[in-house]
Symmetry: C4
């Protein structure tokens, strides 16, 4: 029990720091983002409280939930996007952390309702193919269980494209903005920052050359597999 508590304390610190890092990386202003992380052994999720100012927020303000969203610990209401986070944790057991922002470039692609094409090796180093944009939610999906359905439409989009979250560590929600993930909160925030840079350069690329096509599969394979999987040779 003491060991469990210690892990949760550390997870609160990790989630707190990741939320602050979002601001530092220019991905979030005001309260426009949230990070969560899960301890897979106990199925406890730690998530940012809803609408609390980042300037005054402390690690102990993080909220602890179970997978059904019941509050186990915490003095605040969890992020209103909690059901979206939970849906992703339930669907994909390799995800250790989920991040949501309204960062300007990824959000603009989401608002435009268009997948972000893979135009270069920066993209291919992290995402094994285009960054998928969900369909718009239906009237019914918006009116009842909106945040849960936001998670479901991401899962549906991933399945319809025969992709998994390990090879595409982020997605954009039509009319809304990006979600990203990783094995822990540091990696999830990193992937979110990468998605933002990719989104920006894809925009510029299309403005420079309106007839540009995505990179070849062979170049995508080369760069993605240089960094990921059993034959990777990038890094130490």
């Amino acid at each position: 029990m003491q060991a469990v508590n210690q892990k949760i304390v550390e997870l609160k610190e990790e989630v707190y720091k990741a939320n602050i890092e979002l601001v530092k990386q220019g991905l979030v202003i005001y309260t426009w983002g949230n990070v969560s992380a899960i301890d897979r052994e106990t199925n406890r999720i730690v998530i940012k409280p809803s609408g609390v100012d980042y300037d005054t927020m402390k690690p102990e303000d993080m909220v602890v939930l179970d997978l059904e969203g019941n509050i186990i610990e915490g003095n605040y209401k969890p992020s209103s996007d909690t059901p979206t986070h939970l849906a992703l944790y339930k669907a994909y057991d390799t995800i250790g952390s989920v991040v949501h922002t309204h960062s300007e470039w990824a959000t603009s692609w989401a608002q435009a309702g268009i997948d972000i094409p893979c135009y270069g090796t920066t993209h291919a180093d992290y995402f094994f193919g285009k960054i998928l944009c969900t369909r718009a939610l239906t009237k019914e999906e918006i009116e009842v269980n909106y945040e849960l359905n936001t998670g479901k439409v991401m899962i549906e989009t991933m399945a319809n494209n025969s992709k998994n979250p390990d090879e595409l560590p982020g997605m954009i929600i039509s009319n809304h903005g990006p979600f990203g993930w990783g094995k822990d909160a540091v990696e999830a925030v990193h992937n979110m920052k990468v998605m933002e840079e990719i989104a920006k350069m894809a925009y510029y690329t299309e403005q420079i050359n309106r007839r540009i096509e995505p990179i070849s599969q062979v170049l995508l394979d080369k760069h993605y597999l240089r960094k990921h999987g059993k034959n990777a040779y990038y890094g130490q």
Copy 2:
């Protein structure tokens, strides 16, 4: 009387800090903005002095006016946009603070003379519909009582669209730039920053997808009413 004085001193501090915050948020360079706030009990308005350098400006430099624009207290002339601020306070008694800037994105939409469409949930979280752009002022409106008429054309635009300032906490003036407001100066500046982010992302959205349509009414309702009104469930 002592109590009134104390409130005015606090309002000066609040207005001063809000002006400085505009610079910190990247919404203002040089003297290109102004904030005012009103004490509704005494109908005293506190406003930034005209053309005074932000670096040397102090809380006590703020000018105190009555609703007719008479100077009650202060060593400086008030902002040249004072009649616009007064017109808004008179027309809408729920407004506690007014902000004006020449921030790059909102001003660019204003110069383009086009309403900022609601393309996503970031917009819908704060503005219950598109951000309205006024018509251009007539020759007569420009030549006589220009600043007053700038306020009047905003009020006219709001009425013609059957909207009120609580659900649309900002507007853009054709050929000019944005005005924003809120219950106090902190909220007014916050809304102005939001308007700027929304304006930027609407621009990018249109560049990515020139055929994009505004979000559905049901999604607009969902997000706006999630944060505002009696059924709100965002925040603590």
Copy 3:
């Protein structure tokens, strides 16, 4: 003589600080800019040395010239753009300081070879009409006395448009970049920063609305004359 020396020492300090301010305002990287100022009583010009690093530059490194470009004082060669500065001082006796940069937005308009239209009141507050772009220099003008001819083509453009440097405190050189000026170095740098902001917003304005027209003469008059001339009522 002592008094003259004191004035030159102060002018060196002013020119030095203005060069540093260009970097601080984001208008210059590396050695991509220069500021000069003139003492009209003695016709001594103080200008930045050529290609000296801003990090190590000191006020005493500024070069003192006469109106013919002879070095009166200084251990360095003056900016290679010196003949352009001198041409402007000779042509216009109301100019007290000249600034040149390769700032991104004004330079992009210059490279595009297009006058910056007056799309809003931010522009009208400082420039009494569009910001003029010169014609391209001829082969002969480039090959012999290039920097002098750069000054001459600005003067020609001003005359052809029946404008004077007091009402248009800056201009762009086709294929090159902006020059700005003012009564002293502080004002000249201020006008340059304003030109950059105006150039950026004009770009965005055209992207938002490709059919946009410049503002009306009556609005231009209102804003420019609100801040300039005998009926000005902006500021203290």
Copy 4:
């Protein structure tokens, strides 16, 4: 031997600082860049280690290689782009340092697969003509010896255009990003920053005027030769 060691120690310091400068200049986030430098007397190359965090990296972490890529000294694997760097050092003996980034503007042009035209004197001050973009690599070139072939395609492009690396101190790789170089690491990073600024302004220039043509040969000659070669008169 002591003298050789001292030179290598200094080169490690130079390469380390240049890597940090890339981050400071906004050209690199995370580990998205690398700098190397060569000691031409001993043919020892010093290069950044692969995938090591810039925050914790130290000068002594730099890897020392010979021209065949054998590790002479170092506790880490060298950058995965090492074969590209080596190819450039072998082909051009005037190059003292090579830099690679994924900076946003140069990378966007690379992704668009388009040479960066010379639209102004800022460009002409550093690059004697357009910045070349390589062709895309073939399937075979990607699958075997990819990083070496990335170097080869740059050398091929330079030759096909009858250019040399002294007059074009950088290039963009189709679908990938920029490489730059110089006589030492300070100059190589400087040229990379310049390429980024040029790439940005070329983009804006085309957006402002879609029919814009590159500058004339006479203006290109004037500006390039004002700063380079035996008749240069810019700087001290």
